[in-house]
Symmetry: D3
Subunit: 246 residues, 6 copies
């Protein structure tokens, strides 16, 4: 329902600078190929909590770690075809004040996303992730309000999807959407390989994609075999509005 002039768009809110790759790289690449403009906000670089390998190298400062992480994230975003910006608000712990909230609300106003991807609501292994999810959701609500920066165009009610956490059951995360990413898998895997500091996760998330792919095939409603090998799972926050149940 977008006009000819404005392309569809999507917003990804990532707590640390690599999360969007493991958890939503396929969704990003797939929608970019469909003509969406996808914009990624990395709230932090994950410089403390998700850069163990870099720190173990020695001779690192927080500034150099951040620089490494930024380069990796930018390279990955480029492969996926998305734009990326970095809020650099720090991690472990991530904390967001009102200013950050408004900054993100302003991104919503600018991007006018057709859908939003972010973290799960619960994660006992990572307190930054739910905080990022709550921030993304509250900023969306602010951006919808006529009384916030009155006169600016507000945003509608884009669906919000929580992408897959590292240990899904422990996060009470239950996917209600399985996205077929078969045709962009190679692109996602190239983006994954940008994450030089987290090689131990490459095969882990390859297997995640394969498992979700098998599950996607088990949930297809029509007998015609569809050729799905890789998928990503998402959990919706809101009900979807539709005109067709098939």
């Amino acid at each position: 329902m977008s006009t000819l002039i404005t392309p569809k768009s999507a917003l990804v809110v990532s707590a640390h600078s690599a999360d969007f790759v493991w958890r939503a790289g396929g969704a990003i690449a797939l929608h970019v190929e469909q003509g969406y403009q996808v914009h990624i906000v990395c709230l932090s670089y994950g410089e403390r909590g998700e850069s163990a390998k870099l720190w173990r190298k020695g001779n690192m400062t927080e500034a150099t770690v951040k620089q490494h992480r930024q380069q990796e994230a930018q390279a990955a975003a480029e492969i996926l075809g998305a734009s990326v910006e970095f809020f650099d608000i720090g991690d472990y712990p991530l904390r967001a004040d009102k200013e950050t909230l408004f900054r993100l609300a302003d991104v919503y106003r600018r991007v006018q996303p057709h859908f939003v991807l972010t973290h799960s609501m619960h994660d006992p292994y990572n307190y930054d992730h739910p905080l990022a999810s709550n921030l993304a959701q509250e900023a969306r609500i602010i951006a919808q309000a006529e009384g916030y920066r009155p006169g600016e165009p507000v945003v509608a009610a884009p669906p919000v999807y929580c992408f897959e956490p590292h240990q899904p059951e422990q996060c009470n995360w239950k996917p209600d959407v399985l996205l077929d990413i078969t045709r962009v898998w190679e692109k996602k895997y190239r983006a994954i390989q940008c994450m030089q500091g987290q090689e131990h996760l490459w095969e882990y998330y390859t297997r995640v994609a394969l498992q979700r792919g098998v599950q996607a095939k088990r949930n297809i409603g029509i007998t015609a075999a569809r050729d799905i090998s890789h998928a990503e799972g998402f959990q919706s926050i809101f009900p979807r509005v539709t005109g067709d149940l098939a």
Copy 2:
């Protein structure tokens, strides 16, 4: 993905002969207008539990009550554009043996539904409803098995949606789909009016449709105003497989 020859189809499993009208009449009419063949199975006539007004008239037997109810249900199905069959297994309590299970599995095989509508999984006010839902789900599983009547074409994994129970929160029912039924509302209301024995529910379910309509408007992802006035809510049992998140 249906071919030119085989139209899309849907299956509705209704515990009593009026449930499909209140709870899924909009979905039925809407999909019929889109070219689906919709088939309804009424497991019972609701002769004991949902025919209070008829019984209060006096001079009734179970046979005459069933006859009344069958006529009403057929008239409603006709308005909605669906075919209907009656298993007549009795209500209050509904009980299903293996034979009924296989009979319903055979309907699945024959209909090859692209989606299925049935009751919620929990209802403290009505034990027949969850039983019907479980029967519908188990029959679907049987119909998927190669070893059940080997050689027959099996069914795929059509999505199953639970339609709205009478007191939704008490049934732990939470809609994740809001179906816009605005353009078929008049048709649904005419079908509702066939239920002469349950006039007290006409306005109740009109209000349900209006409330779900308002909620649908609150969950649309794009700013362009869409003209929704009436909706039906559904809760999915399975994750949906898709290629587009907007």
Copy 3:
């Protein structure tokens, strides 16, 4: 709202012949003192599953165990001031066919209870208990239906309360009502002492009553100290209809 002629009444559905004593003895005695007629249905005698001490005595048959258990239950009911009947459908496993369902529905029609007490919906230690709860609830629904034994007076929608299981958290049982049984505690304890075969539970359920008593005091809405020492907890199945929130 009862008339002068018909006293208020209550129905207790107990899987085994001692359950009503441990779990609802206070509620029974308290309401009897308030003028209610309380009727207890024991579905079984608990002859297999809850009579370990009797069996260990030796020289027992199922018939003699049942006899012992019936005497104990009758003595306890008498102390509490309630009438009791025994369905004797067997335990471990308890199984209820349609006939039992209708038999219990007929008790509902006869008793016309103002409230109902029965087991929790879940109990991994005791499969008979949830079955009894489901039977009690389905029978209530049957008894409400105009089409069941047409012409008989139906029952209204009496609230149903699940009484406390042996290991409450493991049963996902969460009390939303704390009933002050302080003034009938001595009577309940005398009824408990009728259960000669389960002495190990006497002190356990005394402590339950004391703990619930302390909790009741912590949940009183007004500053005036109320003298509660013993309580019983219950979990409601249905919302209550009221005209006062205090």
Copy 4:
């Protein structure tokens, strides 16, 4: 159990200045008619998030919007018979520091409420609402503590009820109390009409009252027909302490 001198009282904590009308107007009017003193705290005016229509008029500043909203809320409170005060802590986002927490605790100490009404614990559409609910609950706990302003009379443990959010199932809100507001409905509707900026909600909440009214009739425990047409639903946070289960 109140004495002759001190009337019963209730406290309503409303995130925005209109919430108390849609969600608890019936409860307020009903208890006022029963002699309660009901006091309302509006944490904000909803000037940003719930005043879209005012902002669309143009020529508005936050100050003028607040003024409009205050007048509407005061008019509504007057119709309902309650006192109202405004904390004016801002909305979208609502944020409460310790000072606000203590300010609300002091209101508890002054009002000594017999029950408390506030928002649901979860609302993905509105982050201000759960925050208000948590604030109301934590302030109650502070007000109960002997060591907070030692020497002042503490409050007891008044029941807390969460009133109905806009999309109840999405908020995991499940009413366990249905309050019959039939005889004060006209008064509530007049209060609703004070909300000139939110006319689209008038009919929505009229239908909510009618649906809850039908549901209340379906949950009455005695056969004598009671004439309920309108109701409000509430979810309890704490177990209630009682001496009668009917």
Copy 5:
């Protein structure tokens, strides 16, 4: 705490004849290596629902399919070091009468298991699995009752673990135990290869073992690196009794 004479033992209750391999093959092999006697009950051969490849070969009858499946299961059990018996009660649908319940209770009495493995409590893709789990749990309760076959030695309260279903999140299955099966993985994979009719699952369950292995490493409480590569997840039904929390 077993004596020198009686070895420790375990019981596995499998709905279909291959389930125990995919879901618990590692646990079986590991405990056999630790000296446990592990006994497997296959309630059915999965002849209808889990033998698609065999049926597609053509020239099959239910008898020949069962024979194939039995041979595969026996070969797998032998590799794992466990004994196996087949109840042959049919699948799709699995149904258990009292006789089957008692038959399984008698197995409990004979085996006196130190722990029990069975299916998850919920599975919308497979109704046989929860039924098997409930049967296993109810039989355990029967076997604990002094009044069932009085005079026989009863069983204690062995912990029950639900093994991993095919789509874990959809089954509301959440592992609270991760069993290190690294040193028996090769044995499990050889047992898996006995399942000639379900080759598509070999790699799926290899990946499951690798993912659970990674997760196990993430949940180890001590810094000393432990070399875990493969694991199986289990969900407990009951609290465990212990004397050490590390």
Copy 6:
């Protein structure tokens, strides 16, 4: 798996200075007897919220109340054999800034705990308790991060157990571990008696220990009678990694 040089250790994070006694005194004493070094952090003295009796004495200031409470807590810790430190961050409300978070993370680094005990995740009666639990969990995550104080030894993934809140069901707390504290009960009760200001809780928590003791006996997997009279319940946050399921 600890070396000969470093003894095993445990960390207890207590919101107020008496919580660790009621809720984990047995676990502390038991592990101390097994050679663990147990360290307790009391975030506050509970000077406002849990010192009612002291305040009622009169002539108290916050400083004198704190002093009393500290002496009691130290005496109790000494009896149990644990070291204790006091963060003194205030209670009612407890609030933790980043500095407190890092201070606690540093305790983790120093103690290198093999397991952690803290409060439940939810408590509608006490907002300080969940806040303490979240602080304990987030500090653990910080302490695990290589990038926090790079170069320092990080902590592993010690299991975290939530100890029993005052009204367990209302806190959605469900124990999955029952710790046999029979042989240290006398020591725990002596520690309890140090809490002169909260005598009303002595018998309450004695009964808690007895009830959990009975439940522990009901959950033992082997027939040999074990002599358990007292226990403490705990709820795990994370899955445990093990090599033995019995």
